[in-house]
């Protein structure tokens, strides 16, 4: 290793990210989840009877699933934030209920 390479190794050291960064990431992912929940809340019983809006409902479910998965990623680093995991379970439960409701209305 040359002298310049040694100097570069001393100057360009890896930088540790702050704990605040993972918290911010978690918040952003939570926002995605919230957006999906709001999307689902828009659907009233009339909307559920309108086949043109079923695709939108399914899309909202996909977003919710994706955001939920992303939350799992962050929680791998911050397992202590279990209260948000409960929120995710509630969201999943809500999704299951909506799905069941759709199926019932479709007579499946």
């Amino acid at each position: 290793m040359s002298e310049v390479e040694r100097l570069l190794q001393g100057a360009l050291v890896p930088v540790e990210p702050s704990e605040a960064l993972s918290t911010r990431l978690e918040r952003r992912l939570s926002e995605l989840t919230d957006a999906a929940v709001e999307e689902l809340a828009e659907f009233d019983s009339r909307a559920l009877r309108d086949p043109r809006r079923w695709a939108r409902l399914v899309a909202a479910g996909v977003v919710a699933g994706t955001a939920g998965g992303a939350l799992v990623v962050v929680r791998a680093r911050q397992k202590q934030r279990r209260r948000e995991a409960r929120g995710l379970r509630a969201l999943q439960k809500g999704m299951r209920e909506v799905t069941t409701d759709v199926r019932n209305r479709l007579g499946r």
Binding site: L8, A11, L12, V13, P14, P17, S18, A70, V73
Partner: protein, 186 residues
């Protein structure tokens, strides 16, 4: 390979993304920091990088054919950093020099000279052409090898080796010039 990836469950994909995130959060953050020279903006870029990576993770896995995904992640933050500078119409020279605070020891008079030396190195790196500076950050701040850097920059391995060699040589010349000027003054 694509079929195998498509058969993965969402839980598997999430677990693998989680591993990627944990393994390379520091790499992404370090690269972002040395590109923008500011912790706040580096955090923003890191955040955007992982959100973007999560959206495209499944496809990236399928296309990587089993190769490590670190170059893909660094390419994302690399592109975001380029957008950052384009949006703000500013170059990172001054910011990169400020980054000496991270690496330079301080507090004692004996270390002042070493601090100046590190500042000179960072200043020299900041003054290099963009591609040379970026390659040096990947090599020394993140520890990427030629193959990884080549993938991140979208170049051949041979071209990357030449790029790094020229970057080091140019920096060496600049530091020598600087030392010459200092000696003349002293």
């Amino acid at each position: 390979m694509a079929d195998k990836t498509s058969q993965k469950s969402k839980a598997q994909l999430d677990a693998e993304f989680s591993d990627l995130y944990r393994a390379h959060l520091r790499d992404v953050y370090s690269y972002a920091y040395y590109r923008v020279g500011d912790h706040h903006d580096a955090e923003d870029l890191t955040e955007q990088t992982f959100l973007q990576a999560y959206r495209h993770f499944e496809r990236a896995q399928a296309e990587s054919q089993g190769r490590p995904l670190r170059p893909w992640l660094i390419r994302i933050v690399h592109n975001l950093a380029a957008n950052y500078h384009r949006d703000r119409s500013r170059r990172p020279q001054t910011n990169l020099e400020d980054a000496a605070i991270i690496s330079a020891p301080h507090g004692t008079e004996e270390l002042v000279e070493e601090r100046e030396e590190l500042t000179a190195v960072l200043s020299g790196v900041a003054g290099l052409p963009d591609d040379r500076r970026e390659a040096l950050i990947m090599r020394f701040a993140i520890g990427m090898d030629n193959r990884e850097i080549a993938r991140a920059l979208g170049r051949s391995e041979g071209a990357t080796k030449v790029l790094i060699h020229r970057a080091i040589r140019q920096l060496e010349e600049r530091l020598a010039e600087r030392e010459g000027v200092r000696n003349e003054r002293g």
